[in-house]
């Protein structure tokens, strides 16, 4: 299940929804939130822009790629867009599997791909003004660990 939405989500509900089969042995989840500071400067809001026609397809591709690499029983990705405040939830990734290693790896893989392969852009609103967030070399390095050839 993949959703791109303005509304908030309840991580507890999402995790519970992944516990649908008795043969599931592990559920690993990640929740990304808006930090209230960037380089010691207070952040008042964040805008998440995306490319609507491409986003869903891109997230489905990431999900399929994870499923082809690991034994995944259930998968949920929720990514919010629009204006967010400090401490708001941005993204949820949840993976259910028979064994924990698959769920840990798949969850981290999906988060790394979300940060480097899906068409989302963050803009920060700081006391000094607004600025687009620059892509981090470390995020690309993290994504490349997964042998994307």
């Amino acid at each position: 299940m993949i959703k791109v939405q303005h509304e908030d989500f309840d991580p507890g509900d999402e995790i519970a929804s992944l516990h649908q089969h008795a043969h599931i042995g592990a559920v690993v989840s990640f929740v990304g939130t808006v930090r209230d500071v960037n380089d010691d400067e207070k952040l008042s809001a964040m805008l998440l822009e995306h490319y609507p026609a491409m986003t869903q397809k891109s997230l489905e591709h990431i999900a399929e790629s994870a499923k082809s690499r690991w034994d995944i029983v259930g998968l949920r990705i929720i990514h919010r867009v629009g204006y967010l405040q400090a401490a708001d939830r941005i993204v949820f990734v949840g993976v259910a599997s028979r064994h924990r290693r698959d769920a840990f790896n798949a969850c981290e893989f999906i988060v790394d791909m979300l940060k480097t392969r899906a068409p989302f852009w963050k803009k920060e609103f700081l006391a000094s003004g607004e600025q687009w967030v620059e892509a981090k070399a470390g995020d690309e390095e993290a994504a490349c660990r997964w042998d994307l050839s």
Binding site: M54, K115, F120, W121, W132
Partner: protein, 84 residues
């Protein structure tokens, strides 16, 4: 041929434009569209300068500069992504 061109994030703001339709010679590549747009001068030549890190997608899939375009294609320009 007519293609639809879309701009996102910092690029969209610098150009003050979300999207436009362009008439290009049949068989044009992404690189040729970029060259055409740069010839418009500022802000295009600056936003699409060779030293700018820009990603491109055709019909919602990431594509490289030598990709040949067809009538009706949707070409998007955007900066490196920062989601998650």
């Amino acid at each position: 041929m007519i293609i639809q061109v879309c701009y996102f994030a910092r690029i969209r703001e610098h150009l003050g434009l979300n999207e436009e339709h362009l008439s290009m010679p049949d068989g044009s590549s992404i690189e040729q569209v970029v060259d055409f747009l740069r010839l418009r001068g500022e802000p295009w030549s600056q936003v699409l300068a060779a030293d700018q890190k820009i990603l491109t997608a055709v019909n919602h899939e990431m594509s490289k500069g030598n990709r040949v375009l067809h009538n009706g294609d949707e070409l998007a320009f955007f900066p490196p992504v920062t989601g998650g």
